[in-house]
Symmetry: C2
Subunit: 187 residues, 2 copies
């Protein structure tokens, strides 16, 4: 940041597939093995290759986790697949600082953003290229891939939001997104 | 948000040009007439059509301005043009709650994100399709279009950030982005 200098940002985004590149980018992968207990059909789950990728998350965290006023930016890729009749999905979480919001937007593929409030009302929004989703505070959220190709979603959220995975890991969502007659429904 | 309902988000984003559609979308336009005083060459400015569009901003503000923890999402289109040798640019602002950050990302065209800290150090980051920019707190920011086509930029910022245009309107930035020998430089 030298006075009058013209430079490049340290992170680039491939606008087609939201692949993020650059030194600050953090990469996380989630295999089926990391998602034990989130799917209903345990028997089907146990028969599957536990090393199979379920989803990946890339993020740029320019400030320390917990910093007030800052923002994080990320991209998630959820792979296609089902456990029984339930679509591959992310773990899902409330935010630790639970009034914190998040934006998601669909980049590639088709899926659902599953949302649940503190009263356990649950609903979903269709995710597709160009769908833009506001996830208000106090709303747990998870993504499911309902298609045969990768579901890619961009995200921006406050750096002091945090992730409360525990509530969902223990109590789950109050309904499941399953395929019935070839279509996703919440049951 | 009926329990178990599957719905669409009220806002869509055209991923190619970031045109935002849907009832909640707010549209703002800025003509040259709205930008009096921000360019150095007043004489050149006065000879130009004051009704000429300089930039447009679309935004989705899902919560009230000032709400803690919420987020806003927007897209800016800066039209190509110069006033003298100075590129068309946005007014520029600090955030009112001045520790609040913002993400910008280039979608179409070429330009510069001009940044200035409270000590009036000024620098710029190249904006192009896929460039991703973190604007930390206490950093004034403005976009300039250095190309012959529209510059389109996506943005996400906290709903309690606010805009302090006054500081820039009164004191300006400490340097200008001008074209010299066909290239943009800060002087």
């Amino acid at each position: 940041m030298k006075h009058l200098e013209i430079m490049k940002s340290p992170v680039e985004l491939n606008l087609k597939n939201y692949l993020m590149t650059g030194d600050p980018v953090v990469n996380q992968i989630r295999k089926l093995n990391d998602l034990k207990g989130i799917f209903q059909d345990q028997e089907a789950f146990n028969l599957m290759d536990q090393e199979q990728l379920a989803y990946t998350v890339q993020s740029w965290l320019p400030v320390a986790d917990g910093t007030p006023g800052g923002l994080f930016f990320g991209a998630s890729t959820i792979y296609p697949g089902k456990v029984g009749n339930e679509y591959f999905m992310t773990k899902g979480h409330f935010h630790s600082q639970s009034d914190r919001a998040e934006f998601y937007w669909g980049v590639q593929g088709k899926g659902m953003l599953i949302l649940m409030d503190r009263d356990k009302n649950i609903w979903a929004e269709e995710v597709y290229p160009g769908s833009l989703h506001y996830i208000g505070g106090e709303i747990a959220h998870r993504l499911a891939n309902t298609s045969d190709e990768n579901l890619i979603v961009g995200a921006c959220w406050p750096s002091d939001a945090g992730h409360d995975y525990e509530e969902i890991a223990v109590n789950g969502f109050s309904a499941r997104l399953v395929e019935v007659d070839g279509k996703p429904i919440l049951v």
